[in-house]
């Protein structure tokens, strides 16, 4: 079906455009377009983790038990002192190594471990990961980093919930736990939305790091497809076209940002129906 469409389009548009159409729909290019799924899965997956870790972080920050409070504060400040890329690379590698360390302890001989210079100490301890595993690790890793950002946002939003409402709820006999979950958490979303929208856009941009985490994502494909080709057997002979491919990615991410902004604006308008939040909604 797609091929007949292409032949029809090329007959209609002329040879030159037909050739370019055939080029940008060849197998490698289709694989490139398909690799967008990794970006989207990583974005949605890590957003889910980020909200979860954000809620936990915000709850820790508000805890009256001091060690929990410190833990929450350390978690939310760590991203202000150390680059996100360091954490994003660190967590998957550290997790993989820890698992391999445990595997080595059960599967390798002690003297082999002592003599080993490389990693893992013996072959049996090698933990082989699939793309899906790497993707999950990337989601958790991005989720931890951007969870710290969303913890800050959620904490701020919880502070913004009118105290009177919480007091009223307590006066009606709700337990502290109920007040937290049924009033504070439920009311804070509308205040948190502008900040969370920001975190989402940050996260979306951070998905460009997937290629550093062993995933053949859009960035890696762009580099492969754009590289100069001088062998006619392999495909179209062309010089270094990487700049064209990266330009496409540049525009692609801008479009994703635009769509996200529109979506969050609509969500914000919907969420603040019936609330006098004019001063929160605009231009944030």
């Amino acid at each position: 079906m797609p091929e007949s469409v292409i032949t029809w389009l090329s007959a209609w548009l002329g040879e030159d455009i037909g050739a370019s159409l055939a080029y940008i729909t060849n197998g490698k290019h289709l694989a490139w377009y398909a690799s967008v799924r990794f970006t989207l899965i990583a974005a949605f997956g890590s957003a889910a983790f980020a909200v979860l870790f954000g809620l936990i972080g915000a709850a820790l920050k508000q805890s009256t038990f001091l060690p929990f409070k410190w833990l929450g504060n350390i978690y939310t400040t760590m991203v202000r002192g150390v680059p996100d890329i360091l954490f994003i690379l660190f967590f998957p590698l550290a997790f993989e190594q820890s698992v391999e360390y445990l595997l080595a302890r059960s599967r390798c001989d002690a003297d082999v471990i002592a003599a080993a210079t490389g990693w893992p100490p013996c072959e049996a301890a090698q933990w082989i990961l699939s793309t899906g595993d790497y993707l999950l690790m990337a989601c958790v890793s991005l989720g931890i980093v951007y969870g710290a950002f969303s913890a800050n946002v959620i904490h701020g939003a919880m502070q913004a919930v009118p105290k009177g409402q919480l007091e009223a709820a307590a006066a009606y006999g709700f337990t502290p736990k109920q007040v937290f979950w049924r009033f504070k958490v439920r009311q804070m979303w509308v205040y948190a939305l502008p900040g969370l929208s920001n975190v989402w856009i940050l996260l979306l941009k951070a998905t460009s790091f997937l290629s550093l985490l062993q995933i053949a994502d859009i960035v890696q494909w762009a580099g492969r497809l754009g590289g100069a080709n001088y062998i006619p057997r392999v495909g179209l002979v062309h010089p270094d076209w990487r700049w064209k491919y990266y330009l496409v990615l540049f525009v692609f991410f801008i479009i994703l940002t635009m769509i996200s902004e529109r979506f969050f604006e609509a969500l914000q308008a919907r969420a603040s129906r019936g609330m006098s939040l004019a001063e929160v909604g605009d231009d944030v």
Binding site: R80, G81, V82, P83, F209, D240, I254
Partner: protein, 257 residues
């Protein structure tokens, strides 16, 4: 005991990563002073009454804030490479233009300029109108109004967010050598930490020390910015009341890159 501490792998890493840290500092401290005046121009441009100037400034700021810096690096490097044969080589500047120590700051400047312009634009919008009108009523020229009212107000209002931007720009220098070629021993913290990791696979130590460098320098930057902040707000005696909107803005504007 002290002697043995000096021989630990931890101290060895601190010494090894001292020089790479200078590369991160170089990228940040070349980009920040050059991005700053450019950002003021774009902030004024975005608020300009000239439709074309405003549109172009808006588009520039949106494009650079809406796409990953990682892609921007790849894009500019490949564009520079594509221009090499027709432009840089004939002029004879190819070695210089394609050098990461030139290209890195160039992309960082373009990037930080957009983020900073957005911060300054926000500050320009919240400058008290009365002060500007009073200055105009006194018969001040446009330049004088800018110099004595707009500029100091803008700087004071934008400073907290700008502080964040400076620190995040410093953090962004960590990805320079993931995208640009490494020449000889010119390596930054992430690159050198990665190299050390590939030798003995001790990620906790090497990434930990690299992170420590970033953390320490970030703390110094925050501290220095705090001193400037105090100076900028010297004339304000009472703590300014912070509205809910401002609180939320500070929360959201804290995360920019």
């Amino acid at each position: 005991m002290f002697e043995s501490f000096l021989q630990t792998a931890f101290v060895h890493d601190i010494v090894t990563l001292a020089k790479p840290a200078l590369f991160n500092l170089y990228f940040a401290f070349v980009s920040i002073p050059l991005g700053f005046p450019m950002a003021i121009l774009f902030a004024l441009g975005k608020g300009s009454s000239n439709k074309l100037v405003s549109l172009l400034s808006r588009a520039y700021i949106y494009a650079f804030r809406g796409s990953p810096l990682f892609i921007q690096f790849f894009m500019f490097y490949s564009i520079m490479l594509a221009l090499n044969k027709t432009l840089w080589k004939p002029i004879g500047v190819d070695d210089f233009v394609l050098h990461p120590l030139f290209l890195g700051p160039l992309v960082l400047i373009l990037n930080t300029c957009a983020y900073t312009a957005e911060i300054f634009h926000g500050a320009l919008k919240s400058i008290p109108k009365g002060e500007v009108e009073a200055a105009q009523a006194m018969g001040m020229s446009r330049w004088n109004v800018f110099r004595s009212v707009t500029w100091p107000n803008m700087l004071r209002l934008a400073w907290p967010a700008y502080t964040n931007e400076v620190v995040f720009l410093f953090h962004a220098t960590a990805i320079v050598y993931f995208t640009l070629p490494v020449i000889n021993e010119q390596k930054d913290l992430m690159n050198k930490a990665g190299e050390l990791f590939e030798k003995d696979y001790n990620i906790f130590l090497h990434f930990g020390v690299a992170g420590l460098y970033f953390l320490m320098i970030s703390i110094v930057l925050f501290w220095l910015a705090g001193l400037v902040q105090k100076r900028l707000n010297k004339h304000i005696t009472a703590a300014p009341s912070v509205s809910l909107k401002q609180k939320l803005l500070s929360v959201t504007h804290a995360f920019i890159r």
